[in-house]
């Protein structure tokens, strides 16, 4: 059977249900690794099983999963389908998680291609399939090239050419051991590889920014009951959605809303107030809120500034995500000073606001955007890497470089290290679509004077 491929198989719409579909040898192993069923365990009977997708203890989404063993499937291979309801962000995370666990991102039309290759589609469908696959392959190729915006192509080519230099040096020494060539400088090699790796990591970080712009960010409002969460939600949405009242614990379910923050789609979730409580319904809500906060890109931690700092707020301040600590009710006498708050809230900078008289609310919007995009990046510069395939290739390239570095550390010989470097070089090449099998040899002869 084939290696395992994975893709989001329904058109991605905002807030819609999406499916991550995998096909191939390892689907069962991968799903067992990331899926924790709530009750029934996943069996080969194609039933939908309810549970959670979990990564390193963090819950990514609640899902319905079905396992379809071969051969009576679309591709005639084992198939797993993960139905997610949490929108585009968890969908994407789940896809990335399957890739991390060993699946490969499916080529355009690859499920159909496999169905065809494995004899699933009959002859009369062949022509139609051909048109479909060819047009999708060509289209996606064109799209991929279009997505090579701005400096990305140059950036990748610059890294490729540095790797090519290193490869040519190694390969020349291997193929011409008796020539008067400069020896490969083994002391410099790790540093050279590390520099390239760092640049790839930067591109990947930049890619994360691109992802936010393309697919949106998940933002969660947390705080104690009655700190002003729902008012904040209403302010951000500019309309009333949640019931706003003075009775603590009104928001028991999670209220979600999409909005646009200066061009960035944001899904905002208001959680039940977090406080130890005896109310069973509310306990559920609090649990949900905690889980939700852990999965978010951004946290808005709202505090009632008119009171002393509570134990729960201290706990919440330890959540590691970016975001803001909003000290609300600045129109009332304050329970602690801004200076103290600044010393205390290190993960998320504090800002004193008042949702009653509107103090600092404009500043809040600006700071939010800054938090989302990273303040160190100029606003005019669009993100370079937005294509998930490109991200995947960059990740592969970086993994190969790490392999090369550890091979170097373990005293592996050149011909081994060269395998990893070549892999990294090829991964980068598949982004720009450049490169030919003779490129290394051509480069060797351009750079070095060789031969009898």
């Amino acid at each position: 059977m084939n290696d395992t491929i994975s893709a989001i198989s329904t058109p991605v719409g905002e807030g819609g249900i999406g499916i991550v579909r995998m096909s191939g040898t390892d689907v069962k192993r991968i799903i067992d690794d990331i899926f924790s069923p709530a009750g029934e365990i996943l069996t080969a009977d194609k039933k939908l099983v309810y549970g959670k997708i979990v990564s390193a203890g963090e819950i990514i989404d609640e899902v319905l999963v079905s396992f379809h063993p071969k051969p009576n499937t679309y591709t005639r291979e084992d198939i797993v389908e993960i139905n997610c309801h949490g929108g585009v962000i968890p969908l994407r995370r789940i896809l990335m998680l399957t890739l991390e666990k060993g699946a490969r991102l499916a080529e355009p039309g690859e499920f159909t291609r496999r169905a065809f290759e494995n004899g699933r589609i009959d002859l009369s469908q062949a022509e139609a399939v051909m048109d479909l696959v060819v047009s999708s392959t060509n289209l996606s190729a064109a799209a991929a090239v279009r997505q090579l915006r701005g400096g990305l192509k140059e950036g990748i080519e610059r890294l490729r050419s540095r790797l090519l230099d290193i490869l040519a040096e190694i390969e020349a020494v291997i193929d011409y051991p008796e020539e008067d060539l400069p020896a490969v400088n083994e002391d410099l090699l790790p540093e050279k590889l590390k520099v390239i790796s760092r640049e790839i990591i930067n591109m990947l970080a930049d890619g994360e920014r691109g992802r936010l712009i393309r697919e949106g960010a998940e933002m969660v409002i947390v705080g104690l009951p009655n700190a002003g969460k729902s008012s904040l939600l209403n302010h951000l949405l500019q309309r009333k959605k949640a019931i706003v009242s003075d009775i603590p614990g009104t928001t028991r379910d999670i209220v979600e809303e999409d909005f646009n923050l200066n061009g960035i789609p944001v899904r905002l979730a208001d959680t039940a107030g977090i406080r130890e409580t005896g109310d069973i319904i509310e306990m559920e809500g609090v649990k949900l809120a905690r889980e939700r906060a852990q999965a978010a890109d951004l946290i808005l931690h709202i505090i009632d500034g008119s009171k002393k700092l509570s134990k729960e707020d201290v706990t919440l301040s330890a959540l590691p995500q970016k975001g803001l600590t909003l000290i609300n009710k600045n129109d009332l006498p304050q329970g602690f000073s801004l200076g103290d708050a600044k010393k205390f809230f290190v993960n998320r900078p504090p800002l004193q606001i008042s949702l009653v008289d509107g103090k600092n609310l404009e500043l809040l919007d600006k700071m939010l955007e800054q938090q989302l995009l990273g303040s160190n990046i100029k606003e005019t510069e669009p993100p370079l890497v937005t294509n998930i395939r490109h991200l995947e290739c960059l990740k592969n390239a970086n993994n190969s470089l790490s392999d090369a570095l550890s091979a170097l550390q373990n005293g592996m010989p050149y011909d081994i290290i060269s395998i990893d470097i070549k892999d990294a070089w090829n991964s980068l090449g598949s982004i720009t679509g450049l490169g030919s099998p003779t490129e290394i040899i051509d480069h060797i002869f351009r750079r070095f004077c060789l031969g009898k």
């Binding site: 290696d3 039309g109 291609r113 065809f116 290759e117 004899g119 002859l123 062949a126 022509e127 399939v129 051909m130 048109d131 696959v133 060819v134 392959t137 060509n138 190729a141 390969e171 020494v173 291997i174 193929d175 011409y176 051991p177 008796e178 020539e179 008067d180 373990n410 005293g411 592996m412 010989p413 050149y414 011909d415 081994i416 395998i419 030919s436 099998p437 003779t438 290394i440 040899i441 060797i444 002869f445 004077c449 060789l450 031969g451 009898k452």
Partner: protein, 626 residues
């Protein structure tokens, strides 16, 4: 014209490709005729007296593993053998031999004449005879018609050969032998297209006129290890050293001042030369920042007054050549025996060949060696062997032997030639092999001997030798996996001497062998119950264990690779009828006529989308025929 004889296979040319082709065909039971321009030019080494080096040595080992001749003759004629790349990993280590050219020729000649089924004859072939599309045989310049069902053309650099030395030009084969002036016309008439290639050689200098005292000596270091799998050590003989010296500012000045007289730059050479063997004028002009270039002095044999000046290949006028050579330290009084020269010759566009090396136009007509656009003795021999084998399989109506890129450098070589073609003489390099780690110098027999045995080229004795080697390797590897060592005092003392870290708890021998400083024999010292292995065998075990992760990775890639190689394209497949191919892909596919989807995908100009179109068309065809 008269009928001079009937044969199964006729080999045109008795160079490195021709000899291997003839041996293979004869050993596989076919009555084989070898025609050569001169009996004295059998297995001639017209360029350097050296065989092997990375990738090239791999080819020689593979030829040997399949039952070919080259390695055995190289070992017999070796005046010294060196190990190269010893510090660079198992995949790229290789031997290189300096050989006595006359002994090489003599040994190959007597092997040819002693082999059953081979007839060797001096004759200049002028025509390939084809009647109604059927191959008939060949006709020589004296009107002899030799009839056969298969012909293998191995004309090397003889086809319309032209030697250039400065302003002087004349028709000639290599080393002053006659050229084959008319065969090109016959090939063109049959529909073959040829290209003009060029190569060159340095001057030969009288040994007695050189002062070696100031030069660095280079000796062999293989300790009796040779190329052939079938003898453990080659008999000890007196070794001849080589010498290393450098060009200098004077040499470069002489070249620069006279570059207008260099045929390469004046335009009187039209042929494409290899980047792999540039002439010294080329090196000096293209890499003008280099202050010096290496020059090796290589003796051409024991009882041979000629010294080959490696690094000084040139087609400069003779007077300039003398000045250049005499500018080298220790060569101030150099006496010339032969001048360096460039040679131009006709070579076939290899895209006209099938992977079996049979031509696409004429059934039974094979091409091998330098005529296919390669450079090097090793590349020629490898093709000769495959063409010889496949000529027999063709006569017997059997499927041809096609080695793929994951099996052998020979497979890489032929696949490159017939899939990509070549615009310059092609040299084998390890960088061309994507599965380099699997294609090791040491495991050629493990990879290929089974195939050679089935073809009848490997004797029963050799086969048994191979089987027991494979068995010993497997046994050792298995034992390493299941045995453990506990750090007792005695063991620790021994271990500390290896300088490979410390031993803490019990550890499997396999894990221990992964430490870079340790060899199989180290481990055996700790646990003498492991089998005694030869050097080759121990290295094989070490490679398998030390690089296991990488080997596994390449094996997985090979699995993927085979999927597309196994999707065969029928020989009469009509690419024209497929909808959706790009224009460029269609043109290339029609020209190359790939035999598999994998090969098709390697053609430049065939995009992934084209491969998908092709895949679907093939699948459709397959289902229709089912």
């Amino acid at each position: 014209m008269y009928l001079a004889g009937k044969y199964d296979v006729i080999v045109v040319g008795a160079g490195h490709a021709g000899c291997e082709a003839a041996f293979a065909a004869a050993q596989m039971g076919k009555k084989t005729l070898v025609l050569t321009i001169s009996i004295d030019a059998v297995a001639l080494m017209p360029c350097n007296p050296s065989v092997g080096g990375p990738a090239k040595a791999h080819l020689v080992r593979e030829i040997d593993a399949l039952g070919g001749m080259m390695a055995k003759i190289v070992d017999k004629a070796a005046i010294q053998i060196r190990r190269l790349n010893t510090g660079k990993g198992a995949a790229v280590q290789a031997l290189r031999a300096q050989d006595d050219k006359k002994i090489y020729h003599k040994e190959m000649l007597s092997a040819l004449t002693e082999t059953k089924n081979i007839e060797l004859r001096q004759a200049l072939v002028e025509e390939i005879v084809v009647k109604d599309g059927q191959l008939q045989g060949v006709v020589t310049e004296t009107g002899a018609f030799f009839c056969s069902g298969a012909v293998i053309v191995t004309t090397g650099t003889y086809l319309r050969g032209k030697i250039v030395i400065g302003e002087t030009q004349f028709s000639s084969g290599p080393s002053g032998y006659r050229p084959a002036a008319n065969l090109t016309k016959s090939l063109q008439k049959l529909g073959f297209s040829l290209q003009r290639f060029k190569t060159g050689t340095p001057p030969r200098i009288a040994k007695s006129s050189i002062d070696f005292s100031k030069m660095a000596i280079q000796r062999g270091d293989s300790e009796g290890r040779g190329f052939s799998h079938w003898q453990e050590r080659i008999p000890q003989r007196e070794e001849l050293p080589c010498y290393l010296l450098y060009t200098n500012a004077d040499t470069h000045r002489i070249i620069a001042e006279n570059v207008s007289r260099a045929p390469l730059f004046s335009g009187s050479i039209e042929g494409r030369g290899p980047r792999y063997c540039p002439s010294v004028e080329d090196k000096v002009m293209r890499f003008s920042h280099r202050e010096r270039h290496q020059v090796f002095l290589e003796p051409e044999g024991w009882d041979n007054p000629e010294i080959y000046v490696q690094g000084m290949s040139t087609s400069m006028p003779e007077d300039i050549q003398e000045k250049m050579i005499r500018s080298l330290e220790g060569m101030e009084n150099a006496r010339f025996i032969r001048p360096g020269y460039a040679i131009e010759y006709d070579a076939l566009d290899p895209l006209q060949l099938k992977p079996s090396l049979e031509s696409k136009i004429i059934n039974g007509l094979f091409f091998a060696g330098q005529v296919n656009g390669t450079s090097g003795y090793e590349e020629a021999s490898a093709q000769g062997l495959i063409a010889g084998i496949n000529s027999v399989l063709h006569l017997d109506n059997k499927k041809p032997l096609i080695l793929d890129r994951s099996q052998a450098y020979i497979g890489v070589l032929i696949d490159d030639l017939i899939t990509l073609g070549t615009a310059e003489p092609y040299r084998m390099m390890t960088s061309r092999a994507e599965y380099r780690l699997i294609l090791r110098h040491d495991n050629a027999d493990i990879r290929l001997t089974e195939i050679g045995y089935k073809l009848g080229l490997i004797s029963e004795g050799q086969y048994q030798q191979y089987l027991s080697k494979a068995e010993r390797i497997k046994k050792a590897a298995d034992q390493l996996l299941c045995l453990e060592i506990t750090p007792k005092e005695q063991i620790i003392t021994k271990f500390e001497m290896f300088g490979a870290g410390t031993l803490k708890g019990p550890i499997s021998l396999e894990k221990l062998l992964r430490r870079p400083q340790l060899t199989y024999n180290h481990i055996r010292e700790l646990n003498p119950s492991l089998p005694v292995l030869s050097e080759d065998e121990a290295r094989e075990v070490e490679a398998q264990i030390k690089y296991a992760g990488y080997i596994q990775k390449q094996l997985r890639q090979i699995e993927q690779f085979h999927k597309n190689e196994k999707r065969e394209i029928p020989e009469d497949f009509n690419f024209n009828r497929i909808k959706g191919l790009s224009g460029e892909a269609l043109e290339k596919l029609q020209k190359v006529q790939p035999i598999s989807l994998g090969q098709a995908a390697r053609i430049s100009g065939v995009t992934p989308a084209d491969s998908v179109v092709l895949l679907i068309a093939l699948e459709k065809l397959g289902r229709q025929s089912r």
